[in-house]
């Protein structure tokens, strides 16, 4: 404001017309982050606690507002029944898919969870996309506070091996959080983008991404800014969580034999023991022996865990990741020796055995320069820059991880788009009727590599409706299956006899309907708006305080007394108006009044500056 600086130079019109900023978000199983592209380099955005990692944990206190992040993680210890963690593993799945998983979680699953899991927490029911949305909303707010502007568009990362339903669920989470998801980008690919900024321009790289809940490997060819994925493989149910569960089981058995007490029914104790084994796991990344330390009801459990024993325990898990890597190499038509660079991503790659295994397989020293917890979010920010046009010399060509097919006679799957096809990709197929006058044709779409429909993942059933009633076999309906750049399927159909668009009704096998998502959005979106407004009001008041204080101080200056009375009155009037608006909650009005005061006090500021300049000149010349 002019009290401080004469040429404020604020060009409001330019600011308004600038396109909204797109942030990059890593919505992780354990932790989540948000990053943005700052001039040329991506940067992670810290929250109000100064930390950029937001634990992907949401506490739903009974009768209270949900709490996200570190505070929710603490709640895990005293209110585990109402605290959700690792929700990403439940995304796009039904209760039957994750029965084993749910048995380990201290959560209650509500009835009707066949297609979407409904967790009964805090006296309400929430779905995994809603849990994800709370985490996303927290990240959105962190970004808004940090950047000082509303954030409405984002790139969100997903495991490369996520299927259609899991991707859709992630997109739904974004919508519920009030974010327009411009792109879902695969995590290993994002990591490659983050590294690609300052790495050699051409070569073949493998990204080994072992996170909290998922494992992915992708092999990419880099040339002149083009990141072309050759093949991807993975397991959406393999991660650090599995190591924790393994250690937890061992410790529970150990305690049972030592204390003669089975703690597995005691949710609180189990959560504290989980924390203890996780701490030991983390310690083993740097020291050769760690101790699992746990107390309960006056009893002490201390268990030495040497790294060799830990390595033995997790060998089968690490072997599964290596099998994925070999399959990926084969799909890419490459041998390990043909890989120029290896990039490690995800917290689980801190485990020495994992690093050793990756080094041995690819015969290369893996890159770890970038923080494995941050690299995915940084890459998402680069992709955000590509989409917003800020980055013009890079482009990502990704693939679909799973083959897409339709069920044919005898429950056999006919593949239409093969895995590792560059996306967007499409296929067309002609359908006809089997009976005279038949009006509907049902198409069952699946994802997976197996021959039989029952062994693949059901994606959706598409009902071609209102077909012109003709003789059997005469109808000609052309159906187009399109996998977009997010890896999400779109289906459209045309009646080739009439050339008309054919109606298609979609019944997704898993996930929320559009209407359900819509209902969830409005609720949380309103709140997000409110939150945003509240923050704006608070921030504007802080600004107003500064200006009022500055003007107050200026009124002690000689320049004030030299002002014409009319100008003094105008300033006092403007102060009064600002003070009046100050206590309202209309931040736009406060800003207007601030500007009015700024305008009224311009003359005062100028003469103050002039006398300051004169004083300074005097000082240099005379003394």
């Amino acid at each position: 404001m002019s009290v401080f600086q004469i040429d404020f130079g604020s060009d409001d019109s330019a600011q308004e017309s600038a396109p909204p900023r797109v942030v990059g978000i890593d919505l992780g199983t354990t932790n989540s982050l948000v990053a943005f592209l700052d001039l040329t380099a991506p940067k992670v955005i810290p929250g109000s606690d100064g930390l950029s990692l937001v634990p992907s944990v949401v506490h739903f206190p009974i009768g209270g507002e949900p709490v996200v992040g570190a505070a929710a993680q603490r709640a895990l210890l005293f209110d585990p029944r109402n605290t959700v963690y690792s929700a990403k593993r439940l995304m796009g799945r039904g209760a039957a898919d994750v029965a084993g998983e749910l048995a380990l979680l201290p959560l209650t699953v509500a009835p009707g969870s066949e297609n979407v899991i409904r967790l009964a927490v805090g006296g309400r029911e929430v779905t995994p996309p809603e849990v994800g949305a709370y985490v996303l909303r927290q990240l959105k707010q962190n970004a808004e506070v940090f950047l000082g502007e509303p954030v409405t568009q984002a790139v969100i990362t997903v495991p490369a091996y996520f299927n259609d339903a899991q991707r859709q669920a992630t997109k739904d989470a974004g919508r519920i959080a009030g974010l327009e998801v411009l792109r879902l980008v695969n995590e290993p690919t994002a990591a490659a983008l983050a590294y690609g900024l300052d790495k050699r321009q051409n070569g073949t790289i493998a990204v080994y991404d072992f996170g909290g809940g998922t494992f992915d490997v992708s092999i990419l060819k880099l040339q002149e800014g083009l990141f072309e994925v050759l093949a991807t493989h993975g397991d959406t149910h393999l991660g650090g969580d599995d190591i924790d569960n393994l250690l937890l089981r061992v410790a529970l058995e150990d305690i049972a034999s030592e204390w003669g007490a089975d703690l597995s029914g005691n949710n609180e104790a189990v959560q504290r023991l989980r924390r203890a084994v996780i701490d030991a796991k983390h310690a083993l990344s740097t020291v050769p022996v760690a101790t699992i330390a746990f107390d309960d009801a006056g009893r002490e459990y201390r268990r030495q865990l040497p790294r060799e024993v830990f390595d033995q325990l997790i060998t089968s898990i690490v072997d599964r990741t290596l099998a994925s890597c070999r399959a990926c190499l084969e799909d890419a038509g490459l041998t390990p020796a043909q890989i120029d660079e290896v990039v490690l991503v995800g917290g689980s790659t801190r485990i020495p055995l994992v690093r050793q295994a990756v080094r041995a397989l690819f015969q290369a020293e893996p890159h770890t320069e970038l923080n494995p917890d941050e690299v995915v979010a940084l890459g998402a920010a680069v992709q955000a820059g590509i989409l917003s046009g800020a980055v013009e010399d890079q482009l990502l060509l990704d693939v679909t991880p799973l083959s897409l097919g339709i069920e044919t006679m005898g429950g056999v799957v006919s593949k239409l788009i093969l895995r590792n096809s560059t996306i967007p990709a499409s296929a067309t197929e002609q359908f006809t009727t089997a009976v005279d006058g038949q009006r509907n044709v049902l198409i069952h779409v699946l994802q997976g590599e197996r021959e039989l429909a029952k062994d693949c993942r059901s994606l959706a059933r598409f009902d071609l409706k209102d077909i012109d009633p003709v003789m059997a076999g005469m109808a000609r309906i052309e159906v187009r299956f399109l996998i977009d750049a997010n890896g999400i399927l779109h289906v459209s159909a045309k009646d080739l006899r009439t050339g008309k668009e054919q109606a298609v009704e979609i019944k997704p096998s898993y996930g929320l309907t559009d209407e359900q998502v819509e209902a969830m959005i409005l609720e949380s979106f309103d709140k997000a708006e409110e939150d945003f407004k509240e923050r704006q009001v608070r921030e504007t008041r802080v600004e107003a305080d500064r200006i009022l204080a500055a003007v107050d101080k200026a009124k002690q200056d000689d320049a004030w007394f030299a002002l014409p009375t009319a100008e003094q009155t105008a300033i006092d009037l403007a102060i009064n108006e600002l003070l009046l608006s100050y206590h309202g909650d209309d931040y736009v009005l406060i800003q207007q009044k601030m500007e009015a005061l700024d305008h009224a006090s311009r003359g005062l500021a100028e003469s103050m500056m002039n006398s300051a300049v004169r004083g300074a000149l005097k000082g240099t010349k005379i003394e």
Binding site: S388, L395, L396, L482
Partner: protein, 180 residues
């Protein structure tokens, strides 16, 4: 909005032909990707976004098919009214009957734990690989001939050759799977 290219060849601005300069095609693929990928149109109008999506999926489909000689040949046959036919449901080419019979026997023995069958499978695999190599040379010659004469008779010969090659490809795959 301009309309989409009529076929996979038109995407690359070439007329339907079989002997292709793959490195040049790949260069074109990258140039077109950089120009039309949906990422370049994230803030464009809905119509432009749709065109970018449609064009790029067509481009990807085209590159996937045209870079693979078998798929390219089958695509051209199909667009000329020849159905390639699924070799899996067709009977094996008669001159291969004996070979296939022996391979199936060996595969069966291996499944029942007879390790000695591996030798028979390995030598069968070697013969199939040699047949595939010979077929590839014949195919490439047919490709060049078709581009020069554009005769249906050449396409008929090509169809027979591609069906045979696809069948041998399946044998190679089965033998390799059994040995790995």
């Amino acid at each position: 909005m301009s309309s989409l290219p009529a076929d996979y060849f038109a995407v690359f601005g070439i007329s339907p032909s079989l002997a292709l300069d793959l490195p040049e095609l790949q260069r074109q693929f990258y140039v077109l990707s950089k120009q039309f990928h949906p990422d370049r149109f994230a803030r464009a109008s809905a119509a432009e976004q749709q065109y970018a999506l449609d064009f790029t999926s067509l481009l990807n489909d085209a590159w996937r098919v045209l870079r693979d000689p078998q798929a390219r040949g089958e695509y051209l046959l199909k667009s000329n009214g020849f159905e390639a036919g699924d070799s899996r449901s067709n009977p094996p080419p008669s001159e291969l009957l004996e070979e296939v019979f022996e391979l199936n026997m060996a595969l069966e023995e291996l499944r029942h734990g007879d390790g000695e069958a591996r030798g028979a499978i390995a030598s069968a695999l070697e013969r199939f690989l040699a047949m595939r190599e010979a077929l590839d040379a014949d195919r490439d010659a047919l490709f060049v001939r078709y581009d020069a004469n554009r005769e249906p008779e050449t396409l008929r010969q090509l169809r027979a050759l591609l069906n045979r090659r696809r069948y041998i490809e399946n044998l190679v795959r089965d033998a390799q799977q059994a040995l790995s």
